[in-house]
């Protein structure tokens, strides 16, 4: 009875060959898993590097033209377009026969005052001029 109390079952001897074998086995397993993880992680890293390089090249090719285009649009085209639209709206206020065009392009939303105006049924197109 004393012998059993002094040597619990859950504490095997540290120098037991079975335990050493198990530790070696676990060490091999850990090494294998680490190698696998390094391979997977390296593959992901290389993939992300290539994607980043591709996107970077696309951006460098696209950026100068796009920046120039946006600058020209903001400085010259957009004000001219807005001016044109405003002039058309002003013209439409005094010329009711112009309403169909205004309705078509979504520049006028209220119903026409002239009875039987054909444009009232024309829906605005999906690519109507975006309003600022």
């Amino acid at each position: 009875m004393d012998e059993i109390e002094n040597k619990p079952f859950s504490t095997p001897a540290l120098d037991s060959p079975d335990l050493r074998e198990e530790i070696e086995s676990l060490r091999h397993l850990l090494g294998s898993i680490l190698i696998l993880l390094v391979v997977v992680s390296g593959t992901l890293t290389i993939f992300l590097l290539r994607e980043m390089k591709n996107t970077s090249a696309q951006l460098e090719a696209f950026r100068p033209g796009a920046t120039n285009m946006i600058a020209v649009y903001q400085k010259q085209q957009a004000p001219a377009m807005d001016d044109f639209i405003n002039k058309m709206k002003q013209y439409g206020q005094t010329h009711k026969d112009f309403d169909p065009i205004l309705f078509k392009w979504g520049l006028k939303t209220t119903s026409p005052t002239l009875p039987g105006a054909p444009a009232a049924s024309v829906p605005p197109p999906s690519n109507a001029v975006p309003k600022k």
Partner: protein, 87 residues
């Protein structure tokens, strides 16, 4: 407990790879976002230009059907005219 050198090397490699993955992923997301933003703006500009061109065509057609001085003057101020070129 003694660590084997192979395990240490593999752990270091794994850490380096993970950090590089994060850096590349962050850069990729940043550049993709910038590229998409530029593409979106260019598409918007093109669509608006096309719509304005169509509107101008409609106005020119209108001015042909209902000629009057006001619309002619308006079109001329924007460099548009429905008159045939002088011979």
């Amino acid at each position: 407990m003694k660590n084997s050198p192979l395990t240490t090397i593999l752990l270091v490699l794994l850490a380096i790879s993970a950090v590089l993955s994060l850096v590349f992923c962050w850069n990729y997301i940043r550049k993709s976002r910038e590229l998409r933003g530029l593409q979106f703006q260019v598409t918007q500009i093109n669509q608006r230009s096309a719509a304005i061109n169509s509107l101008m065509n409609d106005v020119v057609e209108y001015s042909k059907k209902s000629p009057n001085r006001d619309i002619d003057h308006l079109l001329e101020s924007f460099g548009l005219t429905n008159r045939p070129p002088a011979k």
